[in-house]
Symmetry: C2
Subunit: 133 residues, 2 copies
């Protein structure tokens, strides 16, 4: 597989594992030093694999209540040892949750010949943004 294909497979497997509540697979390709900008606070990011791990049980419970976590689109830019990807995902409950598309950006490094996630940025837009940006 090309580097792009390896990364695409890594992210597709991670998305499926998030929806299934499979914590081992969610963590399998993540760095001890990961920095995640998550949908909720803290403002300065979730830092380190232990803190990253703690964010998932509550989200898994919400997924199991009937929510979706499905890739709508995925764009991968891969170099030989650094890569990034951005994606849109359906992330909603079945009862008309208006947050239709989650935006996701992932940063990766190839370490010991294996692509490893060192950064994730998850967000929804702010419909009420009033600063004109």
């Amino acid at each position: 597989m090309t580097d792009e294909q390896q990364i695409r497979t890594l992210i597709e497997n991670w998305v499926a594992a998030v929806h299934a509540g499979d914590l081992d697979t969610v963590l399998a390709d993540h760095s001890p030093d990961i920095v995640m900008f998550d949908v909720p606070p803290p403002y300065d990011g979730v830092r380190g694999l232990a803190a990253y791990t703690e964010t998932w049980p509550g989200f898994f419970k919400w997924q199991q209540s009937g929510a979706s976590f499905e890739l709508e689109s995925l764009d991968v830019t891969a170099g030989s040892d650094v890569a990034f990807a951005f994606a849109l995902l359906h992330c909603r409950t079945t009862d008309g949750d208006p947050r239709v598309l989650l935006r996701l950006t992932i940063g990766l490094r190839k370490l010991a010949d294996r692509w490893t996630v060192t950064h994730e940025h998850h967000s929804f837009p702010h419909d009420d943004a009033s600063n004109g940006s």
Copy 2:
């Protein structure tokens, strides 16, 4: 300069230009194909340099009203031809705007021996996120 230093300088200059309302410098290192996930909608991103350009005048106006746009931290991961960076910025008015830290992730490619921004992801957390993530 190393690739990391080149990217750090690019981002520092871009941040200063955003605050100063210097549109030419804001656009100088950006790809025609840029995809930006901005703080406001659209959910599926701002696509292409023309659309990216249109987002700035309103933001410049807000900056000129007395708002800040200053790097708090910047982390760069640079390969030989692909790189990404993530940053926290003070982005607020002086009247106690509670949105203290903007989260920013940038994806870059080296094209014609020059680092070029192909992706930006700007967000604030959602304090009311109720899905447990």
